[in-house]
């Protein structure tokens, strides 16, 4: 009896310990996020504040993002990013699925070489070709005016065909017997692809679409190189990054925080909503 209680006590202590440890860790992980949330409501301007909790709380950082648009037009950037990310996620999803299907189902001479090439090209640092991409886009006149947005779509979706590995692995788990049965019933391979494979691949499609939808919101390097100083065609991230450049940071830091919160909210919602598909996508199409 005595033994039993001491084991129980030990268990309770270790539970208290592990839960408080987790609590401390979560606080560390959340702290920067909370800090930026507080900053976005801070009345006092400036990067540094001697107080951790703001003295005055205000919504003006948010409203000024959309009303004071002479230098930084947040609403416009938001629309730019939305357009770019919608177009690029549609194209990327098509590219990824098309390549993945071809690699999974067709057998042709260039298949293995292509798959090895895709791996090899992924090993070059992406920044290496950035400047070259810029000059190529400039060569065909895609770095002026509205074409900047077209260029961004092309750049973000351009190499999506190389990221087929996860989707291919998923297609590999769909039994070929299903395809063969459909073909015996007179379906063409196109029918198989559009009417069987794609409907069976919802998790992988959601994952691809959302991942490529999120990319333009997070990238600030490519977009900056392509848009240059043309602030009308900035995406949200380039714009926010400009806000806290050395000459602007003191004036705009609280507004940067507000903008960051506005960008993060949809991203968090989308991200949490794909988490479920994420684990499903990695476990295969047909559940035993």
């Amino acid at each position: 009896m005595k033994n039993f209680t001491s084991a129980k006590l030990k268990k309770i202590i270790s539970n208290i310990f592990s839960h408080s440890f987790l609590l401390i860790l979560v606080l560390i992980w959340i702290a920067p996020l909370v800090w930026i949330l507080l900053t976005s409501f801070r009345g006092e301007q400036g990067l540094y504040s001697t107080e951790i909790i703001p003295k005055t709380l205000t919504l003006s950082n948010y409203t000024r993002l959309f009303t004071e648009t002479e230098i930084f037009n947040f609403g416009l950037w938001f629309m730019n990013t939305l357009i770019v990310s919608i177009c690029s996620c549609i194209i990327s999803a098509f590219y990824t699925l098309a390549v993945a299907y071809a690699m999974s189902r067709a057998r042709f001479k260039m298949r293995k070489p292509f798959m090895n090439m895709a791996l090899i090209m992924g090993l070059f640092p992406g920044f290496m070709s950035m400047i070259a991409v810029y000059y190529i886009l400039k060569g065909v006149g895609l770095t002026e005016g509205y074409f900047i947005l077209v260029a961004l779509v092309l750049v973000y979706s351009g190499s999506a065909g190389l990221g087929f590995y996860i989707a291919k692995g998923y297609f590999d788990t769909i039994p070929r017997a299903i395809d063969e049965a459909a073909i015996i019933d007179g379906a063409s391979k196109w029918d198989v692809f559009t009417k069987i494979t794609i409907p069976l691949s919802k998790p992988i499609i959601v994952q691809t679409v959302i991942a490529s939808f999120l990319a333009p919101w997070a990238d600030f390097i490519f977009a900056k190189v392509i848009a240059g100083s043309n602030a009308r065609y900035y995406t949200v991230s380039v714009g926010l990054f400009e806000m806290i450049s050395r000459e602007n940071v003191n004036q705009f830091f609280t507004r940067f925080a507000a903008g960051a919160v506005l960008v993060s909210i949809p991203m968090v919602i989308l991200f949490l909503s794909i988490q479920r598909y994420y684990s499903e996508g990695n476990s295969g199409a047909v559940k035993g």
């Binding site: 990067l47 098309a98 090209m121 090993l123 070709s129 190499s159 960051a260």
Partner: protein, 462 residues
């Protein structure tokens, strides 16, 4: 014997050689004028497609391509300058060659020639195929039949066309463009327009990997730090991530999804936001130092140089990277942990194994087996981890020992590459670094990836 069978798996009877030997007059004429073989069998649309592309290609070559090719070996000879015009009696500006554009156009032309050659081959084979079909069955395929074939047996070609085209334009061509810059002297002193640059062979490589000279020592210093960083960043994140996942997955832990949400939230917020904020927090006058001062841990006016001292900064980026990376590992590992059969643990506990033994003998092997490719990708991703370094320290604190003060103490090879190309216009050095990073990653990848089961038995699933 098995090998021979494998290579002949995709062979067709319709090759260039057999078309040349056994083709009829029209097929043979298709070698010169594309589309003729198809016209002779009344395949008008197909013939027109081939014929027009030949006309377009020849016009391109005559008006533009041949010139581009001829400029490729020198990359331009005429400087931009002023020329005295005797008739008008004034100096007029002449535009010299732009080496960079000449290089780009030359490469594009080579690409055009290669794709035209493939099209030409397809034309000959297709003409021969039509001829054979006509001779054996008396019928030829109509354009509609061909279209249908491209959505059935040949669906993969249709599906791959656009993705591959876009990969060639946005990945392959830029890569080749950049790689060729590594063999030139395209640096800050040779900037077109105005100045020419030219081929220099392996000069930049030699300078970069030599242990003497400012450039060489900088390279080896940064490369060494890059590898140290990649090892720490990968394995610390991995181990701590697994431990955290185990802690959350413990039977006794309450509110599992709440804890998970708390950690994963930081993944969902864009990195440039979180990292810039952390950068603000860790400044000499930043919030963390203020908190430490208020708590009395630091006397007033003193601060900890998290980002301003070279050695401190290196440790700081590794620790902050834990903040970034642990949630990622948590995401990946949680599902795997839940799939490990419970009876394994029960059997182990009956046999008297403690938590440490079960972790080493059951959990780790299972997790490691599934996540080996992920670990490899993480390692290569960390060698190329631009965001964390660039946003957190910007590569700083700057070091005067490094080549022309272009790099700082926490710079990785990729951030140095970025600075050299975007800020300092030393394209040749940047490109060379890119190639060396590629070589480094490839060696790592080939050695590890070829050992994983996923590569060896790809067809195992089907």
């Amino acid at each position: 014997m098995f090998k021979k069978k494998k290579t002949s798996q995709f062979n067709t009877p319709y090759t260039i050689q057999s078309a040349f030997k056994k083709g009829n007059r029209w097929t043979k004429l298709s070698f010169l004028i594309m589309g003729l073989g198809h016209f002779s069998h009344k395949q008008i649309i197909k013939g027109l497609i081939f014929f027009t592309s030949q006309v377009l290609f020849l016009t391109y070559m005559l008006r533009f391509g041949l010139y581009s090719l001829s400029m490729l070996p020198t990359l331009g000879t005429e400087l931009t300058g002023e020329k005295y015009d005797a008739v008008k009696g004034i100096y007029i500006q002449t535009f010299g060659h732009n080496s960079m554009l000449l290089l780009l156009y030359g490469l594009v032309t080579i690409g055009m020639i290669i794709s035209f050659f493939l099209l030409w081959k397809a034309n000959v084979c297709s003409a021969y195929r039509t001829q054979v079909l006509y001779e054996t069955t008396g019928k030829v395929s109509t354009f509609k039949d061909d279209l249908r074939r491209y959505f059935d047996q040949e669906l993969h070609k249709t599906l791959l066309f656009l993705p591959i085209l876009s990969i060639v334009v946005f990945t392959v061509l830029p890569l080749i463009f950049m790689i060729s810059m590594a063999f030139t002297n395209f640096d800050r002193h040779h900037q077109p327009p105005g100045n020419l640059f030219t081929w220099t062979g392996f000069e930049t490589f030699k300078e970069l990997v030599s242990f003497s000279g400012e450039l060489g020592t900088t390279f080896w210093n940064i490369a060494g730090w890059t590898i140290v960083w990649a090892i720490f960043a990968t394995f610390l994140n991995y181990i701590f991530g697994i431990l955290l996942a185990l802690l959350i997955n413990r039977k006794a832990t309450k509110f599992k999804s709440f804890w998970r949400l708390g950690f994963v939230l930081s993944v969902a917020v864009p990195q440039f936001v979180t990292l810039l904020v952390i950068n603000g927090l860790l400044q000499d006058q930043g919030a963390l130092n203020i908190i430490l001062q208020k708590l009395g841990l630091l006397s007033h006016g003193t601060y900890l140089p998290f980002l301003s001292n070279g050695d401190w900064a290196r440790v700081t980026v590794i620790i902050v990277n834990l903040w970034i990376g642990i949630p990622h590992t948590l995401l990946i590992v949680t599902g795997i942990l839940q799939n490990i059969p419970k009876d394994l643990y029960e059997a182990a506990s009956i046999d008297g194994a403690g938590p440490f033994t079960t972790f080493i003998k059951i959990t780790m092997p299972q997790v490691l087996f599934i996540t080996a490719p992920y670990l490899l990708l993480q390692f290569i991703g960390n060698i190329n981890n631009f965001n964390v370094i660039f946003l957190l320290t910007g590569g700083g604190p700057a070091s005067l020992e490094y080549y022309k003060a272009t790099a700082g103490k926490t710079d990785l090879l990729v951030t140095w590459l970025y600075k050299l190309t975007i800020q300092y216009n030393d394209y040749n050095i940047g490109a060379t670094i890119g190639i060396l990073v590629f070589v480094l990653s490839t060696i790592m990848a080939l050695v590890i990836y070829r050992r994983t089961g996923a590569y060896k038995n790809e067809e195992g699933f089907q």
